[in-house]
């Protein structure tokens, strides 16, 4: 039976794929050019599943894939029981509170009805609790930067890598509330019940993908 590794599409994948090239876990180039989402690797019996970040934890937690690479922002937003074996430090970002230029945290605190738009509801809620702040959370899935400009929210909580998108929308990062990066995760059952099968593969992924 093949071992399946769940790999993310998108931002983390852009950094990760070149690192896998030429290693025993390099993905089959021909399959990558096709539309299949189950890709053979250079190691027989090890295949990669290409998944959207939000779906990936469930594939691993349910044991369909024994290992996976996923952003900590995604992990922190979902409640699944899996092992988080390493911080690969890929795709590192800040999770930040951002507001229109000229607005700071003190000003936001004074708003009688503070509205914050975000895709990261759980992490934002935890930060608000720690800050003893009350706010209405406006859950959005994309283009969060538009919310303060168009009056949907007073501020946003979003991932910031270079700050380019914020600048383009005249927003300013006013508080870093967390840091995120790609993590190597494992299915609890597979890792603990078949250590001889899964642990060497986990070690290989860590040595290949870790960005110190």
């Amino acid at each position: 039976m093949s071992i399946l590794i769940a790999l993310p599409k998108g931002r983390i994948a852009d950094e990760m794929m070149p690192m896998l090239a030429g290693t025993p876990l390099a993905l089959d180039a021909k399959a990558m050019k096709s539309r299949v989402l189950r890709i053979p690797t250079a190691t027989p019996d090890v295949e990669a599943l290409l998944l959207k970040g939000r779906d990936l934890p469930r594939y691993v937690a349910a044991g369909v894939a024994v290992l996976g690479v996923v952003g900590s922002d995604t992990l922190d937003e979902c409640e699944v029981d899996l092992l988080e074996l390493a911080d690969l430090k890929l795709g590192a970002c800040r999770l930040s509170l951002c507001a229109p230029a000229g607005v700071d945290l003190a000003a936001l605190r004074l708003r009688p009805h503070l509205r914050i738009a975000t895709k990261y509801v759980r992490m934002t809620r935890a930060w608000l609790r720690a800050q003893d702040l009350t706010a209405e959370l406006v859950p959005l899935q994309s283009s969060v930067e538009l919310a303060p400009i168009l009056g949907l929210a007073d501020a946003i909580v979003d991932l910031v890598q270079t700050g380019g998108t914020l600048k383009a929308h005249r927003l300013k990062e006013i508080e870093v509330i967390g840091r995120t990066s790609a993590r190597l995760v494992a299915a609890r059952g597979a890792y603990l019940s078949e250590p001889g099968r899964v642990a060497p593969l986990a070690k290989l992924l860590i040595s290949t993908l870790s960005r110190a």
């Binding site: 349910a62 044991g63 699944v80 988080e84 911080d87 609890r188 603990l192 019940s193």
Partner: protein
């Protein structure tokens, strides 16, 4: 991970037959070792646990039985001035699990050994370990891994460092995820962080028997944990020659699951490739003192729901079904 309805499974003919058969052979095995069955009510009136399924019975908030050990402990304290030494149980409990897609109803068979003299602990733990080791043969699966842990390996260092409750919970959560970087995040800025992280690294190192115990001897808390290390060493020496064929004994020093409950050695039985442990148990000497009785206790529970799942999804793991 949103789920809109809890998962209440129905059992069809083959699963029902297996459940009946496994319950029967396990209870027979336990009875053969002197365990007598008790059955606490399915509806509990005690303060309701967070993961339980609760509802109003008239004006009273009640809960479906969510854990046999807790329900039995309350029953024993209410009804028995001296504890019956060996008790067994079989039936279902209802609780929400960490994975939202898992069933809420769980079928279990288990046993508990309750005693008054702490000097009996070693003998009792060995008796229970032997019983767990016999489970693969009793249930007809081909092999497995028995993981041996000890709840005090993390608890005592955290107590020694007077870690606040919330921080201790975060550290336990991080270790349960086998995540050293999350432990480092949790401990950031705490004066004991370097010591606790060095210890966490020792616990998280890959389990490999004697070498793990030797590494534990180099932990910053080695002196504090000398008794626990000696205990694990003794258990390894005692159990290894008794291991049935196809069962592997493995040390898992980072096993912190249930640490708010377990106080001593823990055992978990895994089938290769299974997503969940099939049986789990250990020593929980804090339970009865909390209820006002100076009794010591250890026990284990066989998770029949998980065996039923495994029988459906991985029949090749069983000799017979």
């Amino acid at each position: 991970m949103p789920t809109h309805t809890p998962h209440y499974p129905d059992l069809l003919f083959p699963a029902t037959r297996r459940l009946r058969r496994w319950e029967g052979v396990l209870m027979e095995k336990l009875e053969g070792h002197g365990y007598q069955e008790l059955r606490p009510s399915l509806v509990l009136r005690e303060p309701v646990e967070e993961r339980s399924i609760c509802f109003f019975d008239g004006d009273h908030l009640v809960a479906l039985r969510w854990d046999f050990t807790v329900a039995l402990a309350r029953m024993l304290v209410r009804r028995f001035p001296e504890p019956p030494r060996r008790i067994s149980y079989a039936g279902d409990v209802f609780r929400r699990t960490a994975q939202p897609w898992e069933p809420v109803e769980h079928f279990e068979v288990g046993c508990e050994h309750i005693h008054l003299d702490p000097a009996e602990r070693r003998e009792v733990d060995l008796e229970l370990a032997k019983l767990i080791m016999s489970l693969p043969a009793v249930l007809g699966f081909k092999g497995g891994i028995l993981a041996l842990g000890h709840a005090a390996l993390l608890r005592r260092p955290m107590e020694a460092e007077s870690l606040p409750r919330a921080l201790a919970s975060r550290l336990v959560w991080a270790l349960d995820r086998r995540s050293l970087h999350r432990a480092a995040e949790a401990l950031e800025g705490h004066p004991a962080a370097p010591r606790l992280l060095a210890h966490a690294e020792t616990l998280l190192a890959e389990p490999d028997g004697e070498a793990s115990l030797a590494a534990l001897g180099q932990s910053p808390y080695a002196a504090l944990l000398e008794e626990e290390r000696a205990h694990l060493q003794r258990v390894l020496v005692n159990l290894t020659p008794l291991l049935p064929e196809h069962l592997t004994l493995r040390l898992d020093l980072a096993d912190v699951k249930g640490m708010d409950y377990y106080t001593g050695p823990t055992l978990r039985l895994w089938a290769p490739g299974a997503q969940h442990e099939l049986a789990a148990g250990g020593r929980y000497d804090g339970l009865f003192p909390e209820l006002g009785r100076p009794w010591y206790a250890a026990g284990f529970c066989v998770r029949l729901t998980r065996l039923l799942d495994l029988a459906e999804t991985r029949p090749e793991l069983f000799e017979t079904l």
